[in-house]
Amino acid sequence: MISISGVMWLGGIVFASLALRPLGRALPIARLKAACDRMSLAGAFGYVIAAVALYQMFWLYFVKELIFFQWLLQGITGLGIAGYLFRFVGRHIGTDASRKLFRQMPVTAALGILIIIGYAITSVFADWLAPYGQAEIFNNVNVLPGGDPNLGGNPAHPLGTDQIGRDLLSRLIFGAQNTVGIAFVTTCLAFLIGTFFGFLAAAVGGWFDQFLSRVVDMMMSIPQLIFALLLMTIASAWAGSERWLLTVYMIIIIAVLDSTRVFRLSRAVGMNIVVMDFFEAAKLRGEKMSYLVFHEILPNAYAPLLAEFGLRFCFVFLTIASLSFLGVGIQPPLADWGTMVKDLAQFINFAVFSPLTAALPLMAAGAIALLTVAVNFVVDWMLHRASGLKE
């Protein structure tokens, strides 16, 4: 059944794209005729595919009224409008420099900045924003989301409660504080370690540089998540029953593993700086090594390191979320999104009966995805801008 309708669709698309150009030429509109003359067959194919996709979206949204698709489309449209408005506001308010910045910015980057600001506010003010504490346990267990008492909801818990009676909305909000906060601390730590040793290797050179570089090569030849899991096994044995200690170990482990990538970059950037004349002059002046690293190399390596910070943050954030999802990352009672996805994942099977319940694990996972997408949008724009200025 599926295959027959699939073949029919495919045949229809091919036929339509073959017929599109002669049809366009036959119509008595001069501009359409000119456009059809310029169009290649592949181009016609593209237009037909786009038209079919648009029709399918229309059908799913209005005829089939698929609630998940409606949410998705509303979400994307809402975010797009928010990004556009944010850019519009940024273009008219603020200093000349910031206005100029916003004028060159694509909507995706503006949206990315807006989302990052939103996450930052949520994580800093989580204590005020969340209705309850993250580990607070209520008597009502497994309250369904929606807040409608007739459907098993409770107006006091808009997103319901989990299997031991913790408010899910509060945990989602506190997840911003824990997951994002821990990822941020880890990235900062990785940068401290990585840039320090990277610049030192560049400045000192010789056997010291060789030694560090080979150690880093070694560490990078084991896939990162695998290495992290191996080390977490050992860390969990050391931590014993002290759950919070395991979180601290995880921060250190991921920071060290990620600092290898930072080391590579900062060493490469540093290498380009130490051959400059001003660095040679500072060395001949007899400056100390700490002065050389922090006053000569660091200010000149600022731009590439900033873009790398964004990318590193994404990787660290995803690694931590994956570890938590696998059950060896951030430990309860701290609320975090990876663990929430793991705990709520089974609800996805109720999608047909109660879409909102099925959306719970997707909300936590989507919260992770949204932030990484936002950071990537901004970094993409920064890199594009940097390369655009060079050309």
Binding site: S221, I222, I226, L229, I234, S322, I348, A351, V352, I368
Partner: protein
């Protein structure tokens, strides 16, 4: 310097890396508080029992001897005895002499399953991502390119389990076409296996395709800036011909590299995806062993993952050397 000696040198370097990685894995596990014997017997064990097991497993010998014993065993495919299985074996009256609790016996079928999953993924992902990548390079800055760019960026940024659950929602719950659990067992027909593997493979495909497509696009656009492409275009060749006949053969080296690197990336992705779909592969075994601290299994899985990773990277290197004559001359 001949091409053969360069490749041999790379192979030697790969072997050395493998050797050092095995040292790291072995040392890391030896950083555990207590030792195998203690972990095997638990907290309440008498000192005599611990000493007996220690002598039995050879844990009283110096660490260097133990390392080489372990390495020699691993090279023969013998990774020792699994803790969990050993305990279970003791319950049902099996002795450690039989093959029952060996890590290798546990690992082998799962390894085959993971290879199957990876092959299905590669079979879908490689052609799709190369096609999209080349099309995006051909029609760059068009609507198609923008859409491809934003959607691949989104799927790179999403955690694997997010993609996995979205696919489960669409293909297993809302439209029950594919099974959401991949319970694969021996004696299944190929078609059945394929059906059970399709959803995890699709998840991995989405993640890997994004990377591969972006790298292919970048590699081809990089080439399109070179003078001989300009020349071909000025000759009046069609854009399609310029790409397929002139750019693609020269882009082969970077593309092969991209494919190999992304297959190496699959190794990390496989762990999370196998857990989501309860796929009986090596990644699932690894995570389960990490949770119950079954050290011999963790060690073995780690070694297998690292070996596959190093091998694929080595392959990428060698392919790059073979397809690009400029790399054959050492600087």
């Amino acid at each position: 310097m001949g091409i053969l000696s360069i490749i041999l040198k790379r192979l030697g370097l790969g072997l050395l890396t493998m050797f050092l990685v095995s040292i790291i894995i072995f040392l890391a596990v030896n950083m555990l508080p207590g030792d195998f014997a203690q972990a095997l017997l638990g907290q309440a064990a008498t000192p005599e029992a611990v000493a007996a097991i220690r002598a039995d497993l050879g844990l009283d010998r110096p660490i260097v001897t133990r390392y080489f014993d372990w390495l020699a065993g691993a090279a023969r495919g013998d990774f020792g005895t699994s803790f969990a299985q050993a305990n279970f074996g003791a319950y049902v009256g099996q002795t450690s002499v039989s093959n029952f609790g060996s890590v290798a016996a546990q690992l082998a079928p799962r390894f085959a399953n993971t290879i199957f999953l990876a092959s299905v993924t590669a079979a879908i992902a490689v052609p799709v991502s190369l096609t999209i990548g080349i099309l995006a390079a051909l029609y760059r800055n068009s609507v198609f390119d923008r859409v491809a760019n934003v959607s691949t960026l989104t799927s790179i940024s999403s955690p694997e389990f997010f993609v996995a659950y979205i696919l489960i929602l669409v293909f297993a719950v809302l439209n029950p076409i594919l099974p959401s659990l991949s319970n694969i067992f021996e004696g299944m027909s190929f078609a059945e296996r394929l059906e059970k593997t399709l959803l995890p493979a699709l998840t991995l495909t989405l993640v890997v395709t994004a990377h591969m497509m972006r790298m292919t696009r970048a590699a081809i656009i990089n080439l399109l800036a070179s003078p001989y492409i300009e020349m071909a275009r000025l000759k009046g060749l069609s854009p399609f011909r310029v790409i397929v006949v002139h750019a693609l053969p020269n882009a082969l080296a970077p593309i092969i590299n991209v494919v190999a690197l992304n297959l190496a990336y699959l190794i990390t992705g496989v762990v999370v995806v196998e857990v989501v779909f309860v796929y009986p592969g090596i990644g699932q075994l690894f995570v389960d062993s990490v949770k119950i601290r079954d050290i011999p299994v963790v060690q073995a899985c780690c070694l297998v993952f690292a070996a596959a990773y190093i091998l694929l990277n080595l392959l990428a290197d060698i392919m790059a050397i073979l397809s690009n004559p400029r790399l054959r001359i050492p600087k």
